[in-house]
């Protein structure tokens, strides 16, 4: 249960990290290490080199832009969970972070690391997809590009980045006053991987009809799945609609569990609960805060 040998680099700048990454396609970036070191201890991962980016303090910063919150890749889950600005501007993200592992894990694990790790049962990939986040990616070989969260996750622990690319910043759209959110996760006990989970972002127009709807689910396929409620735009929200939508969406999941029917029922329940919570938050006018 000890890591295999590897070369260790601790760059002092993003540019230096990118240069090291471009030199060795087998190198792995180490941020908080809460997923990578587990894999290395179990020798499921044996990178030739570890590039420890934990000291790149600039990537722990948070910028409040007009429509987005721009978070450095090294912002920890604990910061996402407790930062008042994040709780106000992207409450779904803040709430989802509470469900990540345990406090010692959240103290060190990072937003960028979780997204790069691409675990289909993880909360941050789900939240990024549900919220329509954008990853800013840099490379010493190909320069900069942006990757939408829904384009980031390809399969189990597989993202769409090239080996020489690194996530540096994540833009998360801030919640609008007419929007509500819901996040629901079912686990055997707090901190366990969720058996099912759903995140919902709902917008209603002044007549209280559905104006926009995005939802994502975790642990229901080899990647976080996104559902867009395009076919219910203009309809009135309510328990019947939510139940119908949750069942239709859950039927499109691809669970890899022993009992896919059970997984789909759990997924439908989580979706219905999250949709209801989103509607309630708009009714109570607590969309942005609660």
């Amino acid at each position: 249960m000890k890591p295999a040998e590897f070369a260790y680099h601790r760059p002092d700048s993003v540019a230096e990290a990118l240069a090291l990454l471009a030199e060795d396609p087998d190198a792995k970036l180490l941020a908080g290490g809460q997923s990578l070191l587990t894999l290395m201890n179990l020798r499921l991962a044996r990178p030739s080199a570890v590039i420890d980016i934990g000291r790149l303090g600039e990537l722990t910063r948070i910028f409040d832009d007009t429509d987005d919150l721009i978070l450095g890749a090294l912002v920890t889950h604990r910061t996402v969970e407790t930062d008042p600005l994040i709780a106000t501007r992207t409450p779904l993200l803040a709430n989802a972070a509470r469900y990540i592992g345990h406090i010692g894990i959240r103290n060190r694990g990072t937003l960028g690391g979780s997204i790069a790790h691409a675990d289909p049962a993880a909360e941050m990939p789900l939240a990024a997809v549900a919220l329509g986040a954008t990853c800013h990616v840099e490379s010493a070989v190909t320069g900069r590009r942006e990757v939408a969260a829904e384009e980031m996750f390809e399969s189990f622990y597989t993202n769409s980045l090239h080996p020489h690319e690194m996530i540096t910043w994540i833009s998360v759209p801030a919640i609008a006053p007419e929007q509500g959110w819901g996040f629901v996760e079912y686990a055997h006990q707090h901190g366990d991987y969720g058996m099912a989970g759903a995140g919902v972002l709902l917008g209603l127009d002044p007549e209280r009809r559905i104006a926009s709807l995005r939802a994502a689910v975790l642990n229901a396929a080899d990647r976080p799945l996104l559902f867009l409620g395009e076919d219910v735009i203009g309809e009135r929200p309510g328990p019947d609609l939510w139940r119908d939508l949750a069942e239709r969406w859950a039927s499109r999941t691809e669970p890899s569990s022993e009992d896919p029917g059970y997984s789909r029922r759990l997924c439908a329940a989580a979706l219905a609960e999250a949709l209801t919570a989103a509607e309630r938050r708009i009714e109570r006018g607590t969309g942005a805060i609660g």
Binding site: F6, I103, I105, R108
Partner: protein
């Protein structure tokens, strides 16, 4: 620092403060903080259970926040301030907590105790937590620490007692 087959090349110089004392060493890159504390420094209070982040027995403070020493490389704590269970007396909550663990029979075999103490001290010191603590809050906070004697009830009682007896 190149070549995975040349162990000498993957050695990392390290300057770190452990329990208030400055410590300078060169460590293999692949050495975890837990092994560094136990094998290099003889601080064997930090226990190793699962070695992949599940059991919480290796919890220590790094720069004032709890972390798993098995999921941290020694190289990562260069220039950091580390506090292990041996150094917990610097926090005024520790004596009270220790007494409550004893009174409430939260100690059991004691293997998990260092991790529980670190996690509980962090919880008692957290300025953002609800006051007073509830059983649910404590259970959620210590959910990352496993007690193989299933002594949870005594531990929860001890943390609640330590919270209200401050």
């Amino acid at each position: 620092m190149t070549g995975e087959n040349s162990p000498g090349a993957a050695a990392v110089p390290l300057v770190v403060t452990i329990n208030g004392r400055r410590c300078e060493r060169t460590v293999p890159a692949r050495m975890t903080l837990a092994d560094f504390l136990r094998d290099e420094l003889g601080l064997t209070g930090t226990h190793l259970g699962c070695e992949h982040g599940v059991c919480g027995a290796c919890a220590v403070f790094i720069d004032g926040r709890s972390a798993r020493a098995c999921l941290t490389l020694a190289a990562q704590v260069d220039r950091c301030d580390v506090v292990t269970v041996e150094g917990l007396d610097r926090f005024e909550e520790t004596g009270r907590l220790r007494r409550c663990f004893s009174e409430r029979r939260g100690l059991q075999c004691g293997f998990c105790t260092p991790g529980f103490l670190v996690t509980s001290v962090e919880l008692l010191r957290d300025p953002d937590r609800e006051k007073p603590l509830t059983e649910d809050t404590v259970r959620e906070a210590i959910s990352g620490n496993i007690c193989r004697c299933t002594g949870y009830q005594g531990i929860v009682d001890a943390v609640l007692d330590a919270d209200t007896s401050e």
